[in-house]
């Protein structure tokens, strides 16, 4: 069976990397003694896949992973059993069985909501700041790429939405994944470049709140039946 699980990676584990998170989940799965499916070959691996890596330092409140099992287990039992085997800082929120024709997380997740804890002068009118920022035609930044040339990109079309969540906390809905990926740190840079009174905050001020499949203007959780094409 295929399981898709939603989980959070919280403060105590904000500093572990994507690969370390994978290892942590793998070992927790083994401790929970689930009927795990393994890859074939000399070096068998648990069939576990996560979606877009969360940067070291960031908290994630609606992360996902897929897992293949050799036999059926109750998704609720899966969540509760796994929660007893993960260290403080990981919490399985919900797991659901998904059909075979639902695409992988990597393939379908194309948007994410990030909140950024902003720092600026108290007198700033946040609402108009946000309005002005979003009114721009283009928001260009220089993207630094590992072992590749820097590239100029326009962030504006990849910012789907920006709302003021509460005082100093801005909520961005951004494009992520292969069809266009914005790093929230690039947003911070762009904001600072545009308006010097907005400070460049560190990565720990960012939370990935949720991840969605965006189809036209609708946002779906990655396990909704509509996505599998059955209906």
């Amino acid at each position: 069976m295929m399981l898709r699980a939603k989980f959070s990676k919280l403060k105590p584990l904000r500093y572990i990397s994507h690969l370390e998170l994978m290892d942590t989940i793998r070992r927790a799965l083994r401790r929970a003694q689930f009927p795990l499916a393994y890859t074939e070959g000399y070096n068998p691996h648990i069939k576990l896949s996560l979606c877009q890596p969360l940067s070291v330092g960031m908290i994630g409140l609606g992360e996902f992973f897929d897992l293949e099992l050799d036999s059926y287990i109750e998704p609720e039992f899966f969540s509760s059993s796994l929660n007893m085997q993960v260290p403080e800082g990981i919490k399985i929120i919900e797991a659901r069985e998904i059909g075979d024709n639902l695409k992988s997380l990597q393939a379908i997740i194309n948007s994410a909501v990030f909140t950024i804890n902003m720092e600026y002068n108290d007198k700033v009118d946040e609402a108009s700041l946000i309005k002005d920022f979003m009114a721009r035609d283009s928001i260009e930044i220089i993207r630094h790429r590992r072992k590749k040339k820097d590239r100029k990109i326009d962030l504006r079309p990849m910012i789907f939405d920006l709302k003021l969540k509460e005082r100093n906390i801005w909520s961005f809905t951004l494009s992520v994944g292969s069809s266009g990926n914005v790093r929230p740190t690039e947003i911070i840079q762009a904001l600072h470049k545009w308006n010097q009174s907005i400070k460049e905050v560190p990565i720990i001020n960012i939370t990935r709140e949720a991840m969605y499949v965006k189809i036209k203007d609708n946002y779906f959780e990655p396990w909704e039946k509509k996505l599998s094409g059955d209906e």
């Binding site: 105590p12 584990l13 793998r26 070992r27 083994r30 401790r31 070096n43 068998p44």
Partner: protein, 622 residues
Amino acid sequence: MSIAEKLDKMLYQVSNPVRYIGNEWNQIKKEWTNSHVKILLTFPDVYEIGMSHLGLKILYHRLNEEDKIICERTYAPWFDMEELMRREDIPLYSLETKAPASEFDIIGFSLQYEMSYTTIINMINLAGIPVYSHERSEEDPLIISGGSTVYNPEPLADFFDLFFIGEAESGLINLVNKYRKLKDKGLKRKEILFELNKLPGVYVPSLYSVDYDDKGRINSIVSKEDGVKERIKRQVITDLDNSFYPTDFIVPYMDIVHNRAVLEVLRGCTRGCRFCAAGMTYRPVRERKINTLIDMADKILQSTGYEELSLSSLSTVDYSDIERLVKIMAERYREDKISISLSSLRVDEFSVKLAKEVQKVRKTGLTFAPEAGTQRLRNVINKGVNEKDLYQAVKSAFTAGWSRIKLYYMMGLPSETDTDLEGIAKMSKKVLDMGRKLKKTKRGIKVSVSVSTFIPKPFTPFQWVEMNSQEEIIKKQDLLRKVLRGRGLQFSWNDPELSLMESILARGDRRLSGVIYQAWKQGSKFDGWNECFDFELWNKAFNDNELDYRDYLRKRDFDEILPWSHIYTGVTDEFLKKEYEKSLKGELTKDCRESHCHNGCDVCYGLGASMELVGGTNDAQG
């Protein structure tokens, strides 16, 4: 802001922040109360190295078994983290509760490598505790240590309040309990140390004085007061099979050096290689029963979720019933896709057969240690291996599918000549040729030849011999580089200055405390890391202390009082001398397992212990 809050807010600024967060699966976090004795165990290197050390894991879990003891961990912060800590006023802290190191009652360092000594000083300083023991006040923790280089603790004598000599699983508990009683009685630090020194294996260096002549040779090592024992006896665990072994190992997030479940199959080694300190100071050999090992392995794998199990010891292949053990383990965990690894292979066909049994993936390569390039020299060091053994082992490795072989050798061994060094090249090239012929290809066949520089270590038959000079080492390495050239061969060697410094500290005396202090003051730390080591700083530190480092490389006389002569490891001086003399004649000494104790090392008699070869004696399931 508390330390925990500061870390949460600031760790993104450093490399590998995961080293500093703790909170791993199976860590033990207890509520602090006044009635607890708090112990901080530490390893003077970065997290991924310190967390790989088995001895410290055993002690961590053993101490925490006790209701009235809290044991937590810390490791050395890397340069960027240390800078952050000093800038933000974060003292050395424990991973479990993020408590400042100075709030613990006892801080215990693991001594595994001479080149970590400056890192120790740095860590004590980072804890905000005076680095010299005589400067510590009543409020400061006791700073103690033990481990495999503790048998010559003298270079560290000025920094540590006490050393524990030998295996500490049970002795450390006694020490802590006695400490609690003395503290409760209201005794002062000095009085407490005096009383603790009465415990077996406990050595309080400040209670002993060392007197030197004008040439720097030791005149005498004497206890300063009545009631201070003359010599300190190494402690060993008897009945290893029934002794404590943890099964709930901490599972790190980081990919540490040895990131797997570790099963200590046996302790000690019976081979008696004359250069090997561990082979002498972990005597006698003691095994665990197969059933005990199966039971432990089950529990460890269940509680950790590890996907690899290492059968670990100084020489696992020597386990009495190793074939059956390996077979049982491989079969038992096949379904759970757990791979089994052997920590060290002997140079023979049998070892390869075992490796074949467990290693399904043949890409990592196999390692053998012939140690020397000619039979003559291998006899000198009592390495009971001949070329035929090696070639047979290698042949079966290539045939079984391996294509990379790693060979370990030493250079700078006593009596060595150019012929011996050329022998290293000859053997290595032959191994390469064999691989190419057997595999009928040149592609992908690789022989790595690692030649480390021999260092005479205390309590070995070679403890008296001269260390090669820097010039000699360089000359030999140049020769090796010349003869080990060619496609498919890869030669690696040690930094000559690093080896010199290691040998100086290994056989050093108390006067080196001042040198270590100066070297640290001038910026030495993480000396074991090639990129951090700066011999100039040490050289300067020697000058500042008006000592000549060359004097520590010299040959020692048989009748000389060695700096460690008040430490008694159980292996007698007579045995070591006899072994040294046999080495000069190239005479071999038999493995303990076969010699029925006719070798005369006397360790079993001296320590009230005996060989425990219980590996093959019981009815295993499977």
